[in-house]
Symmetry: C2
Amino acid sequence: MTGLTELAQGVRRAQRKFAGTDAQKRSQSLVALAAILKERQDEILQANQADIAAAKADGLDAPLLSRLRLSDSKIDVLCEGLQALSESPDPVGRLEKKTRLDDGLMLTRVMSPIGVLLIIFESRPDAVIQIGGLALRSGNAVIMKGGREAAKTNAVLVSCIQDALVANALPQHVVVGVEDRASVAALLELDGEIDLVIPRGSGAMVRHIQESTRIPVLGHADGICALYIDEAADPAMAAQLAVDGKCDYPSACNATETLLVHEAFLPHLKGVGQALQAAGVTLRADPASRDCLPDAEPATDGDGNTEYGDLVLAVRTVPSMSAAIDYIHANGSGHTDAIVTENPDTAEQFLRLVDSASVFHNASTRFADGYRYGLGAEVGISTGRIHARGPVGVEGLMTTRWLLRGSGQGASEYGPGKRTFLHVDENFPS
Amino acid sequence: MTGLTELAQGVRRAQRKFAGTDAQKRSQSLVALAAILKERQDEILQANQADIAAAKADGLDAPLLSRLRLSDSKIDVLCEGLQALSESPDPVGRLEKKTRLDDGLMLTRVMSPIGVLLIIFESRPDAVIQIGGLALRSGNAVIMKGGREAAKTNAVLVSCIQDALVANALPQHVVVGVEDRASVAALLELDGEIDLVIPRGSGAMVRHIQESTRIPVLGHADGICALYIDEAADPAMAAQLAVDGKCDYPSACNATETLLVHEAFLPHLKGVGQALQAAGVTLRADPASRDCLPDAEPATDGDGNTEYGDLVLAVRTVPSMSAAIDYIHANGSGHTDAIVTENPDTAEQFLRLVDSASVFHNASTRFADGYRYGLGAEVGISTGRIHARGPVGVEGLMTTRWLLRGSGQGASEYGPGKRTFLHVDENFPS
């Protein structure tokens, strides 16, 4: 697979040239891409039809077929997204920090693209354009591996992006596609050539990638989110947040999977259970909570640390908030956890002590999402503790560079008995 | 080595408790640590004497013995550092971003400790206190592995830190030491328990660690820094920056290792060469530059991509700035690279196009350093592209958490035809 090393090195060279071009050219390439998608719409939809026919013959199930299918209106949505990205501020070179070290010696820290990203995703060919658009905006290069079932569609979409780059005299190989699984395995070995892997798919797929590479991985394998109902919870609010957290979109990573109930709340639990069961939720309750939930199933071992992705909810009783927090740390995935309580001190303690990427008070776990957070396009949700954490927007694709503008200074001019540094923070000049 | 998994899990539990305590207690523990170091000074120096005697018997060389040796004055310096840390602002919970999603639905992003750090360092026992102090300030826990030659000193210093924690009713196991190499190898396997590895030592040691773990590593294996002398360089400034970059501290990672010379500058190169040779520098020059540097040695293959760490400098001629940048990308280590030129447009192009952690104009590469950048205590210098890059201060030990304070909202209340998000940036309320 030496060809892949060379491919990745070529992508790195293209990315460096690309990052050095001005923001306006990147904006123009996004507008051009939208135009090319409309021009080549028939070709795109034909390739998509061929993929769908093959997928049907392979017996792909209906939800996957629906994710695979492109349409006029889906392409319109993609073009609107590209237009919005073209008008959004360019992050490359954005000033983050400015410090005057001395007269005539000014230090700045600026945003800079991470470099070469490897994105691995399943089914949805829309992702090619969404991810490619983010790369164009942020000055990064992307090697993309989409699902086999969308191979023909993905190939046409990648060639549309390359056409948009070439039409603006930008390096073509900023966005490239690879097709087979063996290539992915080989690319995951290239920790000198690839800077970040972003997997979008099942927990099993993400975990497999995390375990097979030394390249940093941005994402999450599991979303095991808990809602803790405190003794001072408003029962109606508890019911509403449990139903929203579980039922709004049960297969999402930010859906609530575990209800932790303070034992003093048990007398009010029946109402919460009725609301959930009315919404079609199966409850798996421990003995204490099951006494208040006559229709619940008994909890089994896996409940309380499982991502059901379905209308199933574990219910566990805890003697205190501190026990709830210990339970979350021992069984959760550090994604999103929430408390419902009318006691503001208890709430603040929960917000301070729970070590998860997102921690909520009196709000549904479903809010953990880049769009809802106002980040614009979402790159993913990270449960890692290094680099970006929680919902990640385009800034998660950026690193920094330190730039120092001097007038001939040497470091040996500074020190005891010599010049001293000023270190004036110039971030907010008056 | 199951004992180590349990040790690391115990450290994680201690860290979570510790991160939840208030900033003032962490400040007090730093003051207490300084007092304990003075109280136990005799015991510390005795342990250090025993280490030095054993190291002498083992034939350790003089520079290493000098790094190993503690003294009254070194302990005073450590205590001053702890005092300064105790008065520095606490990063835990610091507000980074605030967005009003809706009335009664406020999102904040706050700084949060990364968690459990594994720090591996050589010789200098001072590092135990410097690193331990940073951990206490930042709410992180640290597993430390120091050099075998400093084992007795390190053990006493770790117990001083633990005493300071216990005296303030803080969890003792926020700072723990391990002694043998086998433990390190086993700890590097624990990517679920340890969040970040920070190696401080030789390039070979750092590279070995990077290659033997899936835990993120903060640091740099190599510091191959170039100074590019542009055709429009001031010859006197070029000489001064080359001498400072090479000679101020030749074994530092930010020392200049390669001089790239625009061919139009060759007529002025002799003066630069004389200044370097007067400072004792051996030049290894390619044929074109050697014509102007009669006393230079001929360049060999390794020159231009080697960290000499000594008074040796490679000299290469390039036909253009663009060739210099290509050379840096192909042979440098992405640490720090500088240009010397009187042409501001050329300088800005260099600053934009060179993809290194630090990029300088008319300043010595030796400025790449946390203290000089005004970051306070330096954790290390990272050439990685994920998380912190370049000189890293205490903020490099922090991640973030997203906190959402609501009043009972469910995500299903928002969307087309329903409530819309406000996304009001409240970072700088008027």
